[in-house]
């Protein structure tokens, strides 16, 4: 059951990630990205991180991507021209991606005993909530990074206000 869910949504995720790259119209790319994020949310959920799944849907699919589509609609962006692609992408990009993928795969396979394993779907059937754990860690061990991130976002908001304010 959980394996079936994982396979369905992993395939959906990869297919729409590719669709995101190959679509020529920005709004189709944005919509593909939404499907990728929703599928990721379902995968998080099957791994037992239900709060992360909900935050993923609410923040990324529900707010960030709405702003993306909003801007695309407002600017009335049209279809992009298909080009041959730059030489740098072929020479540096593709080997770089392969190298990073190989490095990550090696690390996960080699160090999986120290990293620990999340049991697929192990938390779907019992009513344990990891919400309390997440909030306790956020406000004890991770308090400084949490507050620093908040201040960073506040600065960004102030910057946006300054940029958007009319010149007098």
């Amino acid at each position: 059951m959980q394996l079936a869910l994982f396979i369905i949504f992993a395939v959906l995720c990869v297919v729409f990630a590719l669709n995101f790259l190959f679509q020529r119209h920005p709004i189709n790319s944005a919509l593909s990205l939404i499907v990728v994020m929703m599928s990721l949310a379902v995968i998080y959920w099957t791994l037992g991180a239900e709060f992360l799944a909900a935050a993923q849907v609410i923040v990324y699919s529900g707010a960030v991507m709405v702003l993306f589509t909003f801007v695309i609609m407002l600017l009335n962006a049209g279809e992009e021209e298909r080009t041959r692609g730059s030489k740098i992408a072929y020479i540096v990009g593709i080997p770089g991606v392969i190298a990073v993928f190989a490095l990550l795969a090696y690390t996960f396979v080699h160090e999986h005993s120290t990293l620990g394993m999340a049991h697929l779907g192990g938390h779907l059937n019992n009513g344990v909530s990891n919400l309390e754990e997440v909030s306790r860690i956020l406000f004890t061990d991770m308090l400084l990074p949490f507050e620093v991130t908040s201040i960073l976002i506040l600065v960004a908001i102030l910057g946006a206000v300054v940029l958007a304010r009319k010149e007098h």
Partner: protein, 369 residues
């Protein structure tokens, strides 16, 4: 025939989904009739009264009419998005009802009968699905290739993003009191002393504790949170006085100008299904869900197993009905906001008020537990 637990779970879940969908769609149809009747009475006219007794068959006839109408497809639309937008709107509106507990816990072989699924982040699921529903409206306006539709959907997107913040924050007080995002826990946290312990009210009640029976203050005192939720929810469902996205005096019909036949009907159904979901959430979070306002004055197994399972559902339906009636009442009495008023009301009044509510609630909870 012997069925395994998994087969029972699967069959019952499918049955529950079908039953809830049928009830939901029927109540959507009859909410439309209720709206036309009530507005008719308020405006001192009859409302639909010809089809069937008291016009009760009107929704059926309307449905047949919408099915049989010609499905127009304008030339310049983005075809796939134009078709998929009403589907997104309606499916998001219908899916969010799946985590609502309609009655008390009543299990058959481990399957809870009066809710489709019991999820420990039920409230976040509802918020998440409603936030996805924006795409139905945004895409419909953009793909129609019509300036009125585009303006309507731009308005709708901006309005939904702005009011979602106030909506989410107004619920934090309730979550703080219950200590959980599971809707069943939130209902249980307010069902001990009837209407007094509901989140919206509060007052002195006799509490049976370890040290005997004492008087204590129960309830949530979330009346500020409730009114913020109510106003933000009206804006979220694009209903009067916040129905700017479909303001017919300025935008023809807003985002669904180019839609006809069943595609138009899907937007229409999505709007009313969203109203029902919002009323369900208000009932669950502020008015004790399926719990009786009388508390435990009547014995818990009053009227036998069957009746004691049915009574909470009746309470729930009654509370939801009151909210739907309020929706209609507000629509027929209040004029529409201007767009800048709408935005400044959302950002400069509702959002700070919701934050104030969070601070006050958490201070009280921190000092009194």
């Amino acid at each position: 025939m012997h069925l395994s637990d998994f087969q029972i779970f699967l069959l019952l879940t499918i049955l529950k989904i079908v039953v809830v969908l049928v009830i939901m769609l029927t109540s959507v149809a009859y909410t439309v009739l209720l709206e036309r009747k009530v507005i008719g009475l308020i405006q001192n006219r009859w409302g639909p009264s010809r089809v069937g007794p008291f016009g009760l068959l009107q929704p059926l006839v309307d449905g047949i009419k919408l099915f049989l109408k010609e499905d127009l497809m304008p030339m310049a639309v983005e075809r796939p998005l134009f078709v998929i937008a009403p589907v997104i709107a309606l499916s998001c509106a219908l899916v969010s009802i799946s985590v609502v507990p309609f009655g008390n816990v009543f299990t058959y072989r481990g399957v809870s009968l009066f809710e489709i699924s019991d999820i420990n982040i039920g409230l976040l699921v509802i918020l998440g699905i409603t936030s996805i529903g924006v795409y139905g409206i945004a895409l419909s306006g953009w793909s129609s290739n019509n300036k009125y539709s585009l303006l309507g959907s731009l308005r709708a997107s901006a309005q939904l993003i702005s009011y979602e913040l106030a909506l989410g924050l107004s619920l934090v007080g309730v979550v703080l009191r219950a200590g959980s995002l599971r809707l069943r826990d939130i209902v249980d946290s307010q069902s001990a002393h009837g209407a007094l312990s509901w989140n919206i009210f509060g007052g002195p009640a006799r509490v049976h504790g370890a040290g005997g029976t004492t008087w204590a203050i129960v309830g949530g005192f979330q009346i500020l949170g409730f009114f913020i939720y109510l106003m933000a929810a009206y804006a979220e469902t694009n209903r009067a006085p916040f129905d700017l996205p479909e303001a017919e005096s300025e935008l023809v019909a807003g985002y669904h100008t180019e839609y006809s036949s069943m595609k138009f009907a899907m937007f229409f159904m999505a709007e009313y299904a969203n109203m029902i979901t919002v009323s369900c959430v208000a009932t669950l979070l502020f008015f004790g869900g399926a719990s009786s306002p009388l508390g435990h004055l009547l014995p818990d197994n009053f009227g036998g197993t069957f009746l004691s399972a049915i009574f909470p559902i009746l309470w729930f339906v009654f509370k939801v009905f009151c909210f739907l009636f309020l929706y209609i009442w507000v629509r027929s009495t209040l004029p529409r906001f201007r767009y800048d008023q709408l935005m400044s009301f959302g950002w400069k009044f509702l959002l700070p008020a919701a934050m104030l509510n969070i601070v006050l609630t958490s201070l009280v909870l921190a000092f009194h537990g």
